[in-house]
Amino acid sequence: MSFWLIEAAYLVASALFILSLHWMNDPKSARRGVLAGVAAMTLAILGTFLNPGIVNWGWIAGAVALGFLIGVPLSWVPLTAVPQRTAVSHAFGGLAAGLVGTAKFYLWQDTPAELTAFRTFAIVAEVILGFLTFTGSLMAAGKLQEVKWIPQRPVTYPLQNVSNIGLLLLAFACGIALVFQPVSLAWLFPLIVALALAFGVLLIIPIGGADMPTVISLLNSYAGLAAVAMGFVLDNKLLVIAGALDGSSGLILSIIMCRAMNRSFTNVLFGAFGQVQQKAGAAETRTAKRETPEGAAQVLEMASQVVIVPGYGMAVAQAQQRVRELYDELTKRRIEVKFAIHPVAGRMPGHMNVLLAEADIPYDKLIEMDDINPEMPQTDVVLVIGANDVVNPAARHDKASPIYGMPIIEADKARLCLAIKRSMNPGFAGIENELYFSDRTYMLFGDAKAVVGDLVKQLQGGSGAH
C-alpha cells in the first residue's frame, strides 16, 4: 500500500513543481508558484517518510531542525547579497548529492548485484557533478562576497585549461573503470571524489568575479543534473523530474546572460574575462562635462519624458529608495518617468527589477530594453544611475571592443544624458565609455545614493508649493 501512496505523492509533487515554475510567467501568479513549490516539497518529504524501514527519526529531526536554523537566517540576506546566497545554496545542494551518492556506493558494496553498470555510472556522474558543484559554488560565493583570500581577478597560468579538462577526464576515466569493476576497484572512488572537489576549485580560479552570475546559473544546472543522477541511482522519478526542471532553468538563464553579454560559454568559462580591467581604467585623457545637482534638477524639471537607466552602481550604492523619491518628485510634476531595464544590468538577471520593486516602484514602469530603445530619440533626458557597459555605444560600432555586438540601451540617442557615477572608472567590462564624453552628456560625480539624494532635495526645495 505504502508504495502506491508514495508514488501518488510523488506524482502530485511533480505536477506541482511544474506548475510552480509555470506560474512564474507573470508577477500576478508568481506567489502562487511559490506556494505550489512549497506544497510539492512537503508532499515529497511526507511521501518519503512513508518508506518502510525509516527508523532514525532522531537523526532526521535533528538534521531538519539544523536546516531550519541555518536556512531561516540565510533568507534574510540583503538583496545585494542574493548572488552569494544562491551560490552557497548550490554548494549545499551539490554536497547533498555527492554525499548521498557516496553513501549509496558504499552501501551497495555488500550487495554488488545492485551495482548495475547503469547505476554505477549514475553514481559516478552524481558524485562528480555534486562535489564539483560544492567546491565550485563555494569559490564563486567567495569571489562575489569579495573574501580577502580569494583573488577577485581571474588567476591564470600556462596550460591551465588543458590541465583542468585533463583532471575532469581523469575523474571520468576512473568512473568508467568503476563501472566495470565496481567492487574490486572500489578504491578508485575516493580518488574520483578528490578530483571532483579539486576541479570545482580550479574551474573557478580563472574566472573573473563579475562573470560569477553566469557561472552560478551554470552551477545551478549542474546541481539539477546531480539531482537527476541521484534519481537514476535511487530509481526515483520525482528526483529526475525536479532535477531536470532545475537543470534546464539554470541552463536557460546562463544562455540569456551570455547572449545579453554577446559572449559564448567557452569565453565565459575559459576566457579569463576581465583581466584587462586595471589597464583600461588607467588610460584616461579626454575630459567629460560635469554638472551640479542644482543644474541637473533644473534640467529634469523642464523635461516632459525622463528615462532612468539603473545599473550595478545603483545596487552597490543601495540607492533604490532615493531613486523612488526622485520618481515621486518627477511624477508629481506630471513628468513621465520610465525605467529602462537591461537584461544584464547589475550582477544577476533581473537584478534591477528586484531592487526597484523593493523600492515600491510599480512594475509597469520597468520597461525592457527592446521596448524602450525605440522611444529614446523622443526622450528629453536620460538619467544613467551607476550603469556603464549596458549604455556603452561602442557595443554598436567598435568592432575592437570586447562588448561589441552586445545589445545596449541607447542612452546616447536621447536629447540629453545625465550620468551618475563616482569617477571615470570603467565598469565590469573594463572599457571606457564614449557616452560619457559625448557633448550631450553631463556627469554627476559621486556615490549614487548621495547624488540622487541631492537631486531629490533640490526638487523638493524647488517645489515647496506642493
Partner: protein, 118 residues
C-alpha cells in the same frame, strides 16, 4: 564505447534486483520529457522575475532531500547515517531559505496602484 558496454551490461543484471532495465529506460524517458517541460516553462518566465526564479529553482533542486532522508533514516552503519544526516541538513537549508527568500522578493513586486503585499 562506454555507453554501448553499459547497455550491454545492464540487462544481465536485470534479473538480479527489483528495477529491471525497463525501469531504468523509463527514467530516461522521464528525464527527456521533464527537460522539454523545463525548457518550455522557463523560457516563458517573466524577465521581471529572473532573480526570484533563480532562488525558486534553487529551492526545487533541494529535492535531493528525498534521497537524503532515505539514507539518513534507514538502519545503516553510523557513518552512512551521518553522511545522510549532513545531506539532509544541507537540503533542508536550501528548501527553507530558497522558498523564504523567493517569497520575500515576490512580495516586493507591486502592481500599479496596488498596495505592497505583506
Amino acid at each position: 564505447m562506454s555507453a554501448a558496454s553499459l547497455l550491454a551490461a545492464a540487462p544481465a543484471e536485470a534479473a538480479a534486483h527489483g528495477a529491471g532495465p525497463a525501469e531504468s529506460t523509463s527514467l530516461l524517458f522521464v528525464f527527456l520529457l521533464a527537460t522539454f517541460i523545463g525548457l518550455g516553462v522557463v523560457t516563458r518566465v517573466s524577465r521581471l522575475l529572473h532573480t526570484p526564479l533563480m532562488s525558486l529553482t534553487n529551492a526545487i533542486s533541494a529535492i535531493a532531500v528525498v534521497g537524503s532522508i532515505v539514507i539518513a533514516g534507514q538502519d545503516h552503519p553510523p557513518l552512512i547515517t551521518f553522511l545522510g544526516a549532513v545531506a539532509l541538513a544541507a537540503s533542508m537549508t536550501n528548501i527553507v531559505s530558497g522558498f523564504l527568500i523567493t517569497d520575500r522578493m515576490l512580495r516586493m513586486f507591486r502592481r500599479p496602484g496596488e498596495e505592497k503585499r505583506r
